[in-house]
């Protein structure tokens, strides 16, 4: 027979040890997170805070002189037609990215997942744009669009559609569409890989039992694949949205926001003001504006999709 007191003591000691180890465990977690947190704090959080600070100043970016002007930059910003034009370009980019890249990614994922012969080869081919650097893509597509010796106009010539030839990137009406096509081409493979990972995660048994119930092909896709893919699609949409709002590099390489701001995005306009025209204060206010727009849209989208969550 064991002394009950002894049992009590054992239980207590056990608790102590557990508490201690809990504390130790927490310390360990914090310790492991610390390096990343410090880097993130210095380069992201501090940067964001400083952006808001600079956006309240009149500052050229090179001088020691900085003068506080309150919300003057923001007043100027709200009256700046180029900024609204870039915002609308950004929103078009968001819509186009989500409406074209995601479905295209899904279709390609279904194709390479279909298990047909030779799919390994196509998987590699489809994935190539993801591996090429943006600058190279920009130069490559600029050459395709080149009015005098570009591939696109040459193809139009071959198809006897010479009347449609134009300087794709130099023409204000076609420049943005041309860049959008390039962006879609660049990012579709990324979503293809994401979607494929989602597809692989759906157990085959579900499809088997569905086919016993007589749901095949389109029906199975509609009732099984899509609902089970919802989390992946949602993640892709958020990635695509945030990426589109702060997109910069390809535009910078291909058109530099031109001609006459036709392809200007908020980030390229911010860059121009901050680093080309010596208006670091105003540029920072544009950066703050991008930040607020991105937060607002992302939050709205997350709220909206939370209500219609399926299968989680």
């Amino acid at each position: 027979m064991v002394n009950p007191q002894f049992i009590d003591r054992a239980v207590e000691e056990n608790k102590k040890i557990r508490n201690q180890s809990k504390l130790q465990y927490r310390l360990m977690v914090v310790l492991f997170l610390l390096p990343a947190l410090i880097v993130y704090g210095i380069f992201n959080i501090y940067g964001i805070l400083m952006t808001f600070f600079y956006s309240l100043q009149k500052w050229s970016g090179i001088s020691a002189k900085m003068s506080f002007i309150g919300l003057e930059n923001y007043v100027k910003l709200l009256q700046d037609p180029v900024l609204w034009h870039s915002l609308s370009n950004n929103l078009i980019l968001v819509v186009v990215s989500i409406a074209i890249q995601l479905p295209m990614g899904l279709i390609l994922a279904l194709i390479i997942n279909s298990g047909l012969k030779g799919m390994k080869f196509f998987r590699t081919v489809y994935f190539i744009p993801m591996l090429v650097s943006t600058v190279a893509i920009g130069i490559l597509w600029s050459l395709i669009y080149n009015p005098s010796f570009g591939m696109l106009n040459a193809i139009l010539d071959l198809m006897k559609m010479g009347q449609f030839k134009t300087g794709w990137l130099g023409n204000e009406t076609t420049a943005f569409a041309a860049v959008l096509i390039t962006i879609c081409w660049q990012f579709t493979p990324f979503y293809m890989i994401l979607m494929r990972a989602g597809l692989v995660g759906i157990p085959n048994e579900i499809y088997e039992s569905a086919s016993i119930d007589g749901a095949n092909g389109w029906k199975a896709f509609w009732n099984i694949t899509l609902p089970l893919m919802a989390p992946v699609i949602k993640t892709s949409a958020v990635l695509s949205l945030v990426g589109s709002l702060k997109y910069f590099d390809l535009i910078y390489v291909m058109t530099d926001g031109g001609p006459n701001h036709a392809t200007e995005l908020m980030s390229t306009y911010m860059y121009k003001n901050s680093f080309v025209e010596f208006n670091m204060g105003y540029g920072s206010s544009i950066a703050a504006f991008i930040f607020m727009v991105a937060i607002f849209i992302t939050a709205t989208m997350l709220c909206f999709t939370r209500k219609t969550r399926v299968g989680e």
Partner: protein, 424 residues
């Protein structure tokens, strides 16, 4: 990360120095320029080597960057308070911004000693002069001219146009023979701006721009001169003088020049750097049928047809430099006669230093045009404050794209001038 590498480098250098038996600490000067081209870069390297030979106690760290990234890089370096000791600029408004912020050293005293000042061509040295003080030395002479394909001119019996009317005639002839009359790569915006600046100069003379810039009574960027220049630009576009989609053609990587080399285009308006480009890119074409002529005169215009649109490189010393004396000394080496001669012989550029000799016949021709010019009109985008310079390039690109009327473009420029230039 950007700050990390210099620190790492410094640590490495410190370690290697302490390991080696060097007890003499060398003074360090950094020199930033934009000569990424192998030939022009090596000429500057040679000048720096000469300097180091004469000053064994100084080490010069040379950094070359591409044109546009350089602008950003220098700005960030100045803003964060550790600028390079010696740096490149184009004179004009861009340099003036730095001068106004007290970032650039006034070197008038040194220039006035022992006749240092007198080795330079005065009109080019003046591009480094602000409020009567000198802030740098000139190291390049460039001007814009019309470059053309001799063979095509001969084939279609076109004379070199001396007047705008003759130019229009030439354009019509080439157009009817399916040749692009004037090649243009206007993605970078400044090639088209050259044409606008020339038209404005030929129509209104030097005073139109100068007085609008100085905000003199009765002068503005909305003056008839600038509206007329805009109209002429659109007239040329309507005639089909330029290649299809020129606003998307990139000058920097040679997309517009290749049209000239391949005989698809007859002319192109470009700076004298065109010479060295062509020499490297199409040596046969350069030898056999490459030539230039000045921008034609406009009938009834006030501008002198000998006037040129041109620019220079200015090398200056940062006021925060820790080794001012040595840095100013380095300026001599990267702009003197020895450098100038190499700059001419090897790179096919021109140097604003007296007593150099030009051997290449075509380059000689360009040099003569410059010597005869009564007035050198600076490129607007380099001369004006940066915001105005950018607007000028944007509005001109829109003029060329016919998405803006000449009146609108002029109004925008004037509105910005009221904001920017009144402060002066």
């Amino acid at each position: 990360m950007k700050r990390f590498f210099p620190v790492l480098l410094a640590v490495m250098i410190a370690v290697t120095c302490s390991l080696s038996s060097i007890t003499l600490a060398k003074k360090k000067i950094s020199f930033w320029h934009i000569q990424v081209n192998k030939v022009t870069g090596s000429i500057l390297d040679a000048a720096v080597k000469r300097f180091e030979k004469d000053h064994p106690d100084v080490d010069v760290e040379v950094v070359a960057s591409e044109n546009d990234p350089y602008k950003t890089k220098l700005k960030i370096a100045m803003g964060s308070g550790n600028p390079p000791d010696v740096f490149h600029s184009w004179g004009g408004g861009w340099l003036e911004t730095f001068i106004e912020e007290g970032q650039v050293l006034n070197i008038s005293k040194q220039l006035n000693q022992n006749g240092w000042k007198d080795i330079y061509v005065p009109s080019y040295l003046d591009m480094a002069k602000f409020n009567g003080k000198y802030y740098g030395v000139p190291a390049n002479m460039s001007c814009a001219l019309v470059w053309y394909n001799k063979e095509l001119f001969k084939k279609y019996n076109v004379e070199v146009p001396k007047t705008y009317k003759e130019l229009l005639k030439a354009i019509t002839v080439f157009k009817s023979n399916n040749i692009i009359p004037i090649s243009l790569g206007n993605k970078s915006k400044w090639p088209g701006a050259l044409i606008f600046v020339y038209l404005a100069d030929r129509i209104g003379g030097p005073s139109a721009f100068q007085n609008a810039y100085l905000r003199k009574r009765g002068f503005s960027f909305e003056a008839p001169t600038f509206i007329e220049a805009g109209k002429r630009v659109q007239e040329l576009v309507s005639m089909g003088a330029f290649p299809e989609g020129f606003n998307g053609i990139n000058y920097d990587n040679g997309e517009s020049r290749i049209l000239l080399y391949s005989g698809k285009a007859a002319m192109e308006i470009g700076t004298s750097a065109y010479l060295s480009f062509t020499k490297n890119e199409a040596p046969d074409f350069f030898k056999n049928n490459f030539d230039c002529f000045p921008f034609p005169a406009i009938e009834g215009g006030k501008g002198d047809p000998s006037d040129l649109v041109g620019g220079t490189y200015i090398y200056s010393v940062a006021s925060k430099s820790k080794n001012k004396k040595e840095s100013i000394e380095l300026l001599r080496y990267i702009s003197d006669k020895v450098y100038g001669q190499e700059w001419i012989d090897k790179a096919g550029n021109l140097a604003p230093v007296k007593g150099v000799e030009v051997k290449d016949p075509l380059l000689k021709k360009v040099a003569d045009y410059m010597a005869q010019a009564k007035y050198i009109q600076a490129f607007y985008d380099q001369f004006l404050p940066p915001t105005m310079g950018e607007l000028h390039k944007d509005t001109t690109q829109a003029l060329f794209g016919k998405t803006m009327t000449p009146q609108e473009a002029a109004q925008k420029m004037e509105a910005k001038a009221k904001e920017e230039l009144v402060k002066k």
